[in-house]
């Protein structure tokens, strides 16, 4: 049986006191234990950002990679060893900013990985510039007054839906039980799962505080929402303001994952197939092609 202590790390976190990333870290551990996954069965790939230091703060296989690139790295890992549960954890800048192209293509191909976004609507680690999810008008040193950020924010839910995602959920790091459930659901999903987590950054984004979200978030499940309907999900995706929906916003089951469809992988994880052994008939076939 997996145990929460197995996931403990000797490393002291460098996150600010009160940072929403703690909630994500804790719920992630809870979720993994709930799913009875042991640290060696999981591999977490992160980008670069405050939140991306997460693997250092737990004991688990990890790859802390490059800003914007955890998604293709995760896909490579999973294509090579689909016995591992491969989870991307990265910031909003990482995923929707610099990494936006990998994001939409991973969803489109239904790569069998989980993407958990620490969405604090700001660039934390580089000290407070606006991010793709910052609201229009957000004043930072790269978007100074009078205009603040000129662009309206990215809508990750809509974008994922349009990209062909098979699982889209949102949660809030101030609601650990819900967040844990959502992580379990996302990891359990067969195919590419997006979980956007509202994560307060107490240092650089005072607007999006715990209070801000607490007053606004509501659980769609409690309102009898049907996440299987793509049209409804589209409408839901633009709900943002006094009421912010959390929960599974879209889910379609039974769609084959990318990995399911790769012929070679039908014989098991690639890494377990070892270095292929070559026989006489192979040699002959290769030679024949060029003689």
């Amino acid at each position: 049986m997996a145990n929460i202590k197995d996931y403990a790390s000797p490393v002291r976190s460098t996150w600010c006191v009160g940072c929403g990333d703690y909630g994500i870290l804790n719920s992630l551990k809870q979720a993994l234990v709930k799913m009875d996954l042991e640290p060696h069965e999981v591999l977490i790939v992160t980008g670069i950002g405050c939140g991306s230091k997460l693997p250092d703060y737990m004991t688990v296989n990890g790859y802390t990679s490059l800003h914007g690139r955890p998604i293709p790295i995760a896909q490579g890992i999973h294509l090579a060893n689909h016995d591992l549960k491969v989870i991307v954890v990265a910031g909003d800048g990482d995923t929707y900013g610099i990494g936006g192209n990998h994001f939409i293509h991973a969803l489109r191909r239904n790569a069998d990985i989980t993407i958990i976004v620490q969405n604090n609507a700001v660039y934390g680690l580089t000290k407070g510039q606006y991010s793709p999810t910052s609201p229009k008008g957000f004043p930072t040193k790269t978007s100074p007054p009078p205009t603040g950020a000129i662009e309206p924010p990215v809508n990750p839910i809509a974008l994922a839906l349009a990209a062909g995602a098979t699982f889209i959920a949102r949660s809030f790091s101030g609601n650990p039980p819900h967040l844990t459930d959502m992580i379990v659901a996302a990891i359990s999903h067969q195919g590419c799962a997006l979980l956007d987590v509202l994560q307060p950054c107490v240092t650089f984004n005072r607007d999006h505080s715990y209070d801000f979200y607490r007053q606004r978030v509501y659980n769609v499940e409690e309102e009898g929402y049907d996440p299987s309907n793509r049209e409804v999900a589209w409408e839901k995706s633009s709900e943002w303001g006094d009421r912010i929906p959390i929960g599974i916003l879209y889910m379609v089951e039974g769609k084959p994952t990318y990995e399911d469809q790769v012929t070679t992988l039908k014989s098991g994880p690639l890494v377990k197939q070892g270095l292929r052994s070559w026989g006489e008939s192979d040699y002959e076939a290769l030679e024949a092609e060029f003689t």
Binding site: H40, G62, P72, I73, G76, L79, L270
Partner: protein, 585 residues
């Protein structure tokens, strides 16, 4: 009569089947025991324009093309316009009799004309698309080459389309063969004749590299198409099911290299292949592999730059870029094979080096090497000779036995840290792109840890240095002048040396394939005994010459540089040897 020593050139528009005709004839020659060197030249367009395929034939091994052409097979008039002045004394042109040709001019120049009703034969016997088959038949006829070799290639090429197609093509070829032989053979001095010889393959650099890689255990290839590297991901993909590979044509080159890094991290031998522009996008992740000590093979097939440059033309313009790409300092290995055999060898050796030294290995090829065909003895492509060495990869059993905390980045004497794959309870670890401790935790500050880690990583290169190959010396031990070349300059320089020595000069040649790390001492020692060094490169700044000076202090005495997109040839080198070459900063 000159037997088995000639150059055939097939020219036509893109889309006219120049490549397949050339490849077909090349195979027919190889099956007749002849040696050949085939060079393809194509334009950056899909239809129209002008492409050609040039095949030099001999009964001795060939390492380069020559500029002189003996038989020109013209599928469109432009072929004649462009190449008529390359035709050697006694040479001729094969073309469809309806092609509009300036007979007077050509006759005046002493060029023999061999019009043949190619299209007519094709249409009468089969359909007009068989005109190329007719052309090959006619060519074989005029050179009196054994028809059976042409026939066997036709059978192989069309077997999938059914016996009827095979038969019709055979019939077309036969008729053109007979006509060519009848009408023109007597008037043409260059002949092709079957020779008894061991089995040979006809293969180009890209495919040789693919063979080396798959036999070397590569099972994962992620790439994004880019001329001239595209055939690598294409060959791998079309053979994926058969040989148990996973290939991924990704959304871009950044994803391509990152996927390969991911797959390698999980324990699968993985590579990516691209050209310079795509490599530029991979630069950041190259450093990631360096820092996380992830084995990685990157094939970079150079083309003429900068930027989009001349997409289908050749150049060796990326050498110093490869050695220095990505921020910061980390170990890497750069190999530059110069022949198809060396491509094959580099193809599998790169994976061993990558795993042994846990670092990126770049194989640097170029358009000329990638696309040039050569006959090689099957025994030189000895599939069974491929060695697999995964270096200090911990076995499942070794990992089972681990008791204390596993340190992925353990400081060792060799700098090599025993590597475990993710998935085992005893070796849970994090690969970290920030500077890290021995067990992979972030360590962005500590100066002592930093020094240890920098030195640990570079110690790996000191070990690797011992197995880097010094350059091959071709030609006599002592010489008046020594050519120095690298990568694809091999063939043209080798032929040049032969010609010079045959002509009474005394030249030899140092051919470099293992570029980085460079065993400075051994090289300096080698260079000491040289008199006059002539650097030969396909670029405008003499990158290898600079490189050599950096590490050995030796300044190259004279440079022959080519930077017009065309491959070097013995003729080019010999001409420049007389007039002196240019050199830019």
């Amino acid at each position: 009569m000159i037997k088995n020593n000639m150059t055939l050139k097939i020219g036509g528009e893109a889309g006219q089947g120049v490549e397949s005709s050339g490849a077909g004839f090349a195979k027919a020659l190889a099956r007749g025991g002849l040696h050949l060197f085939g060079w393809q030249d194509y334009m950056s367009r899909i239809r129209g324009g002008h492409n050609f395929f040039q095949i030099k034939v001999s009964d001795r091994p060939l390492y380069s093309h020559s500029d002189e052409v003996h038989l020109l097979l013209a599928l469109h008039p432009e072929t004649i316009d462009r190449h008529k002045d390359e035709i050697a004394t006694g040479g001729g042109i094969v073309y469809d009799e309806n092609l509009n040709v300036d007979h007077d001019y050509l006759k005046e120049k002493g060029i023999k004309l061999f019009p043949i009703p190619l299209l007519k034969i094709a249409e009468e016997t089969g359909t007009k698309i068989m005109a190329n088959t007719a052309a090959l038949g006619a060519t074989a006829g005029i050179t009196e080459y054994d028809f059976e070799h042409i026939a066997s290639v036709i059978r192989d090429n069309f077997v999938k389309k059914g016996q009827e197609v095979v038969n019709t093509n055979l019939e077309v070829a036969r008729r053109a063969y007979d006509l060519g032989r009848e009408r023109y053979a007597a008037d043409f001095d260059f002949k092709l004749e079957t020779v008894k010889a061991p089995a040979r393959m006809v293969i180009n650099g890209n495919h040789a590299l693919c063979l080396g890689a798959v036999l070397g255990g590569c099972r994962f290839v992620s790439a994004y198409p880019m001329t001239p590297a595209t055939p690598i991901i294409e060959w791998m993909s079309t053979h994926a099911d058969r040989y148990g590979l996973v290939t991924k044509h990704s959304e871009d080159e950044i994803a391509a290299i990152c996927m390969a890094i991911g797959a390698s991290h999980a324990g699968v031998r993985a590579m990516t292949a691209t050209s310079g522009g795509g490599f530029s996008l991979m630069v950041e992740a190259l450093g990631l592999a360096g820092m996380t000590e992830t084995p990685l093979v990157v094939v970079e097939v150079q083309r003429a730059g900068p930027s989009t440059g001349m997409p289908t033309r050749t150049e060796q313009g990326d050498l110093l870029f490869m050695i220095h790409a990505s921020q910061g300092e980390f170990p890497r290995i750069v190999l530059a094979p110069g022949s198809v055999e060396e491509c094959f060898y580099a193809g599998w050796r790169a994976f061993n080096l990558a795993e042994k030294y846990q670092c990126p290995v770049i194989i640097l090829s170029d358009t000329f090497l990638a696309n040039s065909l050569r006959t090689v003895e099957c025994r030189d492509f000895n599939f069974k000779s491929v060695e697999l060495d995964r270096g200090e990869l911990l076995t499942e059993e070794a990992v089972d036995q681990l008791s204390e905390g596993y340190k992925r980045y353990a400081i060792t004497d060799t700098g090599i840290s025993p590597r475990a794959l993710p998935g085992h309870p005893n070796t849970v670890f994090v690969a970290c792109s920030d500077e890290h401790t021995q067990d992979g935790h972030f360590e962005d500050e500590d100066p002592d840890n930093r020094i240890q880690m920098v030195e640990k990583r570079f110690r790996k290169m000191e070990v690797a240095l011992k197995e880097m190959r010094t350059p091959t010396l071709y030609g006599p031990q002592e010489a008046e002048f020594t050519f120095v070349g690298w990568g694809s300059t091999y063939g043209p320089v080798r032929e040049t040396v032969d010609r010079l020595n045959e002509g009474g000069n005394k030249a030899n040649f140092l051919h470099f394939t293992d570029i980085w790390p460079l065993p400075e001492d051994k090289i300096s020692h080698l260079l000491e005994t040289t008199n006059h060094i002539i650097g030969v490169e396909s670029n405008s700044t003499g990158q290898f010459a600079k490189f050599l000076r950096t590490y050995t202090g030796r300044k190259i005495d004279h440079q022959i540089l080519r930077y017009d997109g065309q491959p070097l040839s013995p003729e080019y080198i010999l001409t420049k040897l007389q007039v002196g070459g240019g050199d830019h900063g």
